[in-house]
């Protein structure tokens, strides 16, 4: 029997993100699976009433909130204080929260304050033998473990795309405002730094991840490197296909070393061992080479295709659904032409 706290930050407009709704869906399902358990909602943000109304029909026995202008900003000291207060007010034994930079930063410290434990990057949540059990990856997505804990409270941060989002009727919810003593503020968030919209290459919501490998910068059949054309082809494809860009480590390292390579490529694009493991329905890898460890960047990609001159490429063999043995420059030139010719 668990007291489950669904704990989420609100967006700028006071509503909940898609990932938060997925976590609520998982929390509701788990509450039903664990006999005698109850669900409580906890909301944090500058404005929380819209979120409370949004999930009014979720079946939570209570809706707790901490609201204030200081909580508009994603900041450790205030977020941790708010989450700690909500966990204590709820008497939560299990705290389910959406993974994201904000909660990933704050909730591990909250677990320490509460004398509990925390698991992040959780990809599945279920009841096993009447106890909650989670699944997460170890060694950078190279092995998967399932575990349960007896220590409470237990904080679980659920990754996006791992559970169906809760959907239900909105209503008028009554929020119990929980008082919080915030610490002196020594940190202020002054803004976001992002490439201009037309130069943004990372699109988490894109249907397709386009992975570029170091092969784009190597000498081609004419004995010359064509980095400028590679840039043009890749950026052109990203724009027309609205794809997100990933890269192998070798390619971003080349960029970092100041070589004449793809200027828009940064470490933020890197997928794999020391990069990200993005989630997209489809992935297209081009000119990528690498042994098994580097392919962890593919772990959460649904359909996978690759273009490579080497039919035995270890990046693609056994990891992609289709491997096209072809010149990526020639293929992507034609892909861009076909996409541009499509009616909008």
């Amino acid at each position: 029997m668990e007291t489950i706290l669904f704990l989420a930050p609100t967006e700028a407009d006071g509503t909940l993100s898609q990932n938060a709704l997925e976590t609520l869906g998982a929390a509701k399902a788990l509450t039903a699976e664990l006999a005698g358990s109850s669900l409580i909602a906890g909301l944090v943000g500058a404005t929380i009433q819209p979120a409370a109304n949004q999930i009014a029909g979720c079946g939570a026995t209570r809706c707790l909130g901490v609201a204030g202008t200081e909580l508009a900003q994603s900041r450790y000291s205030t977020d941790a204080a708010a989450a700690e207060a909500l966990a204590q007010a709820a008497g939560a034994t299990l705290i389910l929260a959406p993974a994201g930079s904000r909660w990933n930063r704050a909730l591990p410290g909250v677990a320490q304050r509460l004398g509990g434990r925390v698991d992040t990057h959780v990809t599945a949540l279920a009841a096993a033998d009447g106890k909650p059990a989670i699944t997460r990856w170890y060694y950078r997505q190279r092995m998967e473990g399932t575990l349960t804990r007896t220590t409470r409270p237990w904080i679980v941060l659920l990754e996006s795309g791992c559970a169906p989002a809760w959907s239900g009727d909105a209503g008028r919810a009554t929020v119990e405002n929980i008082p919080v003593a915030l610490p002196p503020l020594r940190t202020s968030v002054t803004g976001l730094k992002a490439p201009p919209a037309d130069e943004q290459t990372i699109r988490p919501d894109a249907k397709l991840l386009f992975v570029a490998g170091a092969g784009w910068t190597k000498k081609q059949a004419d004995g010359l490197a064509h980095a400028a054309e590679a840039e043009q082809l890749i950026l052109g494809f990203l724009k027309t296909a609205q794809a997100s860009l990933g890269s192998t480590k070798s390619l971003v390292d080349l960029s970092g070393e100041g070589q004449a390579v793809l200027k828009f490529m940064t470490h933020l694009n890197q997928v794999g061992q020391t990069g990200s493991t993005p989630r997209h329905p489809k992935g297209l890898a081009t000119c990528c080479h690498g042994e098994e460890p580097h392919t962890v960047g593919w772990r959460f990609i649904g359909e996978r295709r690759a273009i490579n001159l080497n039919a035995g490429c270890s990046w693609a063999q056994g990891k992609a659904d289709v491997l096209y043995v072809a010149d990526a420059f020639a293929v992507m030139r034609e892909v861009n032409r076909l996409l541009a010719a499509r009616p909008s």
Partner: protein, 269 residues
């Protein structure tokens, strides 16, 4: 100009090019032949160490400590590769560096070691580490260490730290969508979990290596044994994912035909 006491928390991980295989042991999951696997400093902890050394160099009077928990023999092996990179003083803890070790217990051990550093001025403390490890990969240990030490100005996924002349600083943290959140902090003490940062790996410097090893070897000899019990956690299993897909190799299509097939595929719902 401010000067800092910079403590970097970092441990070792198996070389990423090694094949890893999980096994079950009476104390929980482990890696097959774990002690035989070549090890390296955790990549993000390495970035934190290089950023710490660079910051200390720019702010005379600063000092860098590396607090590392791992099997003593493996720590010594890893030191041989990193000691020539940048100057630091080692504080070693002899215990597991496993990805299955409980982060709360690791954090308590690290915090205890930091509290034991002679001459550490916590008003000038910058606590660095990787924002995640390449082993457990939870991104939870540093926050807990910070809580043990009472540091509530914490930043994760840091790619840039810019110190102003008054000791305050601006920080870029990775957030969703390939963006950075920009924060201004009044100054030390603060905790920064580094992502990649902006620095290349420093070249080896034998003089730095000799200087580091003078203090590192005694630090290894007096490394305090740490036992991680993993109390309260029970693994139902750890396994390798199914790796193989039945890859269809397409060798005989022209680039134009491949392009048509790809466009049809990516535009299909």
């Amino acid at each position: 100009m401010p000067s800092y006491h910079i403590v970097v928390c970092g441990s070792l991980v198996p070389d990423p090019l090694q094949t890893l295989e999980p096994i079950s042991t009476p104390t929980g999951p482990a890696l097959k032949n774990e002690m035989m696997l070549p090890a390296m400093l955790d990549p993000w902890a390495g970035h934190a160490l290089f950023e710490a050394a660079n910051l200390a160099k720019q702010h005379p009077g600063s000092k860098v400590w590396l607090v590392a928990l791992g099997p003593k023999a493996k720590l010594q092996q890893v030191l041989m590769t990193i000691a020539q990179k940048v100057p630091f003083e080692l504080v070693a803890l002899d215990g597991p560096a496993s990805g299955f070790a409980e982060s709360a217990e690791v954090a308590a051990a690290l915090a205890g070691a930091i509290n034991g550093i002679t001459g550490l001025d916590k008003t000038r403390l910058l606590l660095f580490g990787g924002w995640e490890s390449a082993s457990r990969g939870t991104g939870t240990t540093m926050q807990m260490v910070g809580e043990h030490l009472g540091i509530v100005d914490q930043f994760q996924g840091v790619d840039q730290l810019t110190v102003r002349s008054d000791g305050s600083f601006d920080i870029l943290e990775r957030v969703e969508g390939g963006k950075h959140q920009v924060s201004a902090c009044a100054g030390a003490p603060a905790l920064l979990g580094w992502a990649t940062g902006n620095l290349p790996e420093p070249a080896n410097n034998p003089q730095v290596g000799m200087l580091n090893m003078r203090t590192a070897m005694p630090a290894l000899q007096r490394a305090k044994p740490i036992k991680v019990t993993n109390d309260g956690v029970a693994f139902a299993g750890v396994s390798l994912p199914r790796q193989r897909r039945d890859t269809r190799i397409v060798k005989d299509l022209t680039p134009d035909a491949v392009a048509r097939e790809i466009v049809e595929w990516i535009t299909r719902d």
